[in-house]
Symmetry: C2
Subunit: 335 residues, 2 copies
DNA sequence: CTGAAAGCGCTAACAA
DNA sequence: TTGTTAGCGCTTTCAG
């Protein structure tokens, strides 16, 4: 691309060997005499030779790269989520020596699956068509964080329903009855499942959440603030809040403290994510940990195994979230 | 990769034309009869033919992809920063039809520059070696958010010094004298420059910042909390705070409110970034906007131009930050 | 408007 | 241990 390209042939000439020998040293094949190896290495260094990867791939008949498709609207999911996924994918690609083609999508443009061995979809949000297209043309796919039951494809997700249940179980075990919830984006599978897992579990304990104790948030701090300000006008006041993300939980706590109330003495708050930020707020946040990094990492590994034909059947993995107890929940006042 | 690959030749056979004609329809060359075009398209659809991009690239002699190298330690910069960069780069790549190879680095492993036309470094943090290596082997590089003066390479950055000055100017214009600052990570060029720009400007107004009014933060909310709690023990209390990121500013405000004081009536706070989150806190944050998305977008475009040989000279771009006035700053009490 | 043929730069038998 | 040679799948002159 830059300057005139130097090819394996130039190297061969300068080192006075065949191109095969050059190829051998490039690929670290052991059957090369030290003398020749040295000559070739000198030539490579001198000429600043860089093998043309397209030619390598063509000749080898392989394409060791995968795509990561991520919705691109402002405020991608919540940032912590996105960053953890990216980190996990990046980590796995590094160790598997896979190229990672990162693709931010608006959901409409068809994504190009020709140049990758397979593609990872970070959730499906308004881009179902892309997933279907990829599946249709035979590209191995792995959906992250969305249990797609109606598509013949692979997924790895967190059991958000279980997460909601765990939160409900923990809160109700303190004896809380007036429990409010700030949901995540309910257009999102995770948001919906967390909410329903939570609500349904409480029902088994004979606790109903009244309508005005439910606020439909969108994972943003802003929505949590609006929610909490509304809750604070209600009576009776809720004694516990389940926020479907740590960011929202943190903002919830901020609002409570601003009003001169205390957490958890006056109101208990539980979050979801286990974002490191929860450790360092005014009160350490009790939360439901979801293994984001691991999900991404494992997703890449499974996908790779599928691409290489080692895994034949569909893989559907469900990861368990877990309760992380810190300081933001306790018994309701007066009990 | 999957199944037996169908090649352009298979398509040609089925459509009863030459591979040249198939190539023409793939590349949308107009000189193909409608009849042939239809036949080829049918064959492509029927065979689910996907052109091999490596072969295309090899034949065309181009490699339209760029690398994005980003430090991978936990808490990559502050998330908003990273996300905006990624969005900007993704956006530019999409419109330039460039593949984006995303590489998260620990700073040590050499990065593979063979398969990309050029590489974008998201700042330089503990990975200077990689940059030097890339430059040495002739790979076009673009450094984002770091003015590298001692390396013969390109950069696009925000004028953080100016940003610091703007903040200082604004605060001092209200008549504040007791101004404290929570710096960003001072190992970072941006952190250092914001601080020095701020401090130096105040000096021109004959305002010195005492030692204990300076807290060395790291862009995290946590560090801001620690800082603000310290400041609150000081006397006289500062009447204004400059936090080197919005995240820190937001946490600063939270701490102030928790203590029952008001923003901006008791203490003014100014941030840096213009993270959308600043709009929705308890008080809308006045801040210094830095054009992250644009920086990334523009960075890719410049890099591409360099790769294509359209730009010959080194490009060194400095973007101007600007003041965004909202509600978190005012005149000090009693003035 | 179409096709034959010469590569693009590299890998991988196969011989030597 | 080394070199020869035949592709990998596609693009691109150049004739027709």
């Amino acid at each position: 691309m830059t300057d005139k390209k130097v090819s394996i042939e130039d190297v061969a000439k300068r080192a006075n060997v065949s191109i095969t020998t050059v190829s051998r040293v490039i690929n670290n094949v052991s059957t090369v005499s030290n003398k020749n190896r040295a000559k070739v290495e000198e030539a490579i260094a001198f000429l600043k030779f860089k093998p043309n990867i397209s030619a390598q791939r063509l000749a080898r008949g392989t394409n060791n790269s995968i795509g990561l498709v991520m919705p691109g609207y402002p405020g991608i999911f919540h940032s912590f989520y996105a960053i953890e996924l990216i980190r996990g994918v990046g980590h796995a690609c590094e160790s598997l020596r896979l190229d990672m083609l990162f693709h931010i999508t608006n959901g409409y443009n068809p994504i190009n699956t020709n140049n990758v061995g397979g593609v990872l979809f970070a959730d499906i949000i308004e881009n179902r068509k892309q997933v279907e297209a990829a599946i249709a043309n035979g590209t191995p796919c792995m959906i992250i964080n969305n249990k797609v039951t109606d598509l013949k494809t692979n997924y790895i997700a967190v059991d958000n329903t279980a997460g909601g249940q765990i939160a409900a179980d923990y809160l109700s075990s303190f004896g809380h009855k007036n429990i409010a919830v700030i949901t995540g984006n309910l257009n999102t599978q995770s948001g919906l499942e967390r909410f329903e897992g939570f609500k349904d579990f409480l029902k088994t304990k004979n606790i109903e959440i009244p309508k005005d104790y439910i606020f439909q948030g969108d994972y943003s701090r802003r929505s949590a603030r609006v929610a909490m300000e509304k809750f604070l006008e209600l009576k009776p006041l809720p004694t516990a809040i389940f926020a479907a993300s740590d960011d929202m939980a943190l903002e919830t706590i901020a609002v409570i403290l601003e009003k001169g109330m205390r957490v958890p003495e006056d109101i208990s708050v539980i979050g979801f994510d286990d974002n490191p930020a929860c450790l360092f707020g005014p009160v350490a946040l009790t939360t439901i940990r979801q293994p984001l990094f691991e999900m991404a990492d494992e997703g890449v590994k499974s996908l790779n195994s599928i691409i290489q034909g080692k895994t034949k059947s569909l893989v559907k993995t469900l990861l368990k979230p877990e309760l992380v107890i810190r300081e933001s929940c306790t018994t309701p006042k007066g009990q």
